[in-house]
Symmetry: C2
């Protein structure tokens, strides 16, 4: 397999393909083409074919792709043939919204731990979780073997909490704090910052 | 100016440069280099110099960049020398968290309208806003001239609401619904979906 050398930007598009295919399946569509998939995503058919070609042959020339088969293949490539446990760190407004969000489980994720350092919050329930003391992060992450954290703490605390998470064995962090986190090699960070997206769009407005 | 032809991927990095520079300013740093900036962002110095070169000369060889000057230039390029009004559509858990978030104003944005179609919510206060009936979107968007919307409605409603927003004059949409929105040419959409980011990271986990 050539998977080792697939550019990260290609990997980043695969979840979007999967999302569109799962929607097609919901709509009862069983066969699709790179053209149809591309139109749904605003991506060229050639780009989609090129991206998928990194991983093998998924369709026959002229007959298109089986939606179900392509979903299965993409889920396997992205390691989604299992449920991934998440730790939520920081249960403010945003953390609370994430804890209550119903859309994780049917896409392969479930929050199993929630931490905050506010004594008023520790021990309280949020959705199906009980908020635990951030001081217990090292112990609880090691006990549970959770590998992915969602970080929704204030920017000023984010790096310190990150160091603690990495030390405890977390390997991937979805960072909502508006700062760039410094992590050791091999630790993956993805950032979500609505303001960066807004500032990107205002370039085109006047 | 060569601005017309700057690739969108370059534009997308400028807000990150701005964010890092604003943090440097907070830390009292007055001069920086593409190397230092790059280290903070995990981006090569060469990439930063190349990106900035699209817009002119911002530093002298060997003396680096004035942090303040570069902030001013980036803010001007991104049209951030003004406050941008936002409309929030959908005041569920996530919409509520965004309405209460304090971090918008000092980065150039303020939410001035909030809409929901739930009769239980219409008329209620959220932060400094009063939730208005989604049925009044066309009228209220036209009255206020708001150009940017944050869309936090369920996926099943997102396209219909988008059509309504675009018809009313919205030109840019930050979409939190986990679907690809179809919009006319010239309307800008950026998507925020934590699960796409999580699925990107699980590729690298095992």
């Amino acid at each position: 397999m050539a998977e080792q050398s697939v550019p990260d930007i290609v990997i980043g598009r695969l979840p979007r393909y999967l999302q569109a295919l799962e929607r097609m399946r919901l709509e009862g569509i069983t066969t699709t083409s790179s053209l149809e998939l591309g139109q749904r995503l605003g991506i060229s058919a050639a780009q989609i074919r090129k991206d998928l070609s990194h991983f093998g042959e998924f369709g026959k020339q002229g007959t298109g792709y089986s939606v179900e088969f392509l979903i299965e293949q993409l889920r396997a490539i992205l390691n989604l043939n299992r449920m991934w446990d998440l730790a939520l760190v920081g249960v403010g407004d945003l953390g609370s919204a994430l804890a209550r969000y119903q859309g994780f489980t049917n896409r392969g994720f479930r929050i199993v731990l929630a931490f905050d350092n506010d004594p008023q919050k520790i021990g309280k329930r949020i959705g199906h979780l009980v908020i635990e003391d951030s001081a217990t992060i090292p112990e609880r992450i090691r006990q549970t073997g959770v590998k992915i954290a969602m970080l929704t703490v204030p920017a000023a605390e984010a790096q310190k909490v990150t160091d603690c998470l990495v030390e405890a064995g977390i390997r991937a962090i979805l960072n909502y704090a508006p700062i760039h986190l410094v992590v050791p090699p091999g630790i993956i960070v993805e950032n979500i910052d609505p303001i960066l997206k807004l500032q990107h769009m205002t370039y085109y407005l006047d």
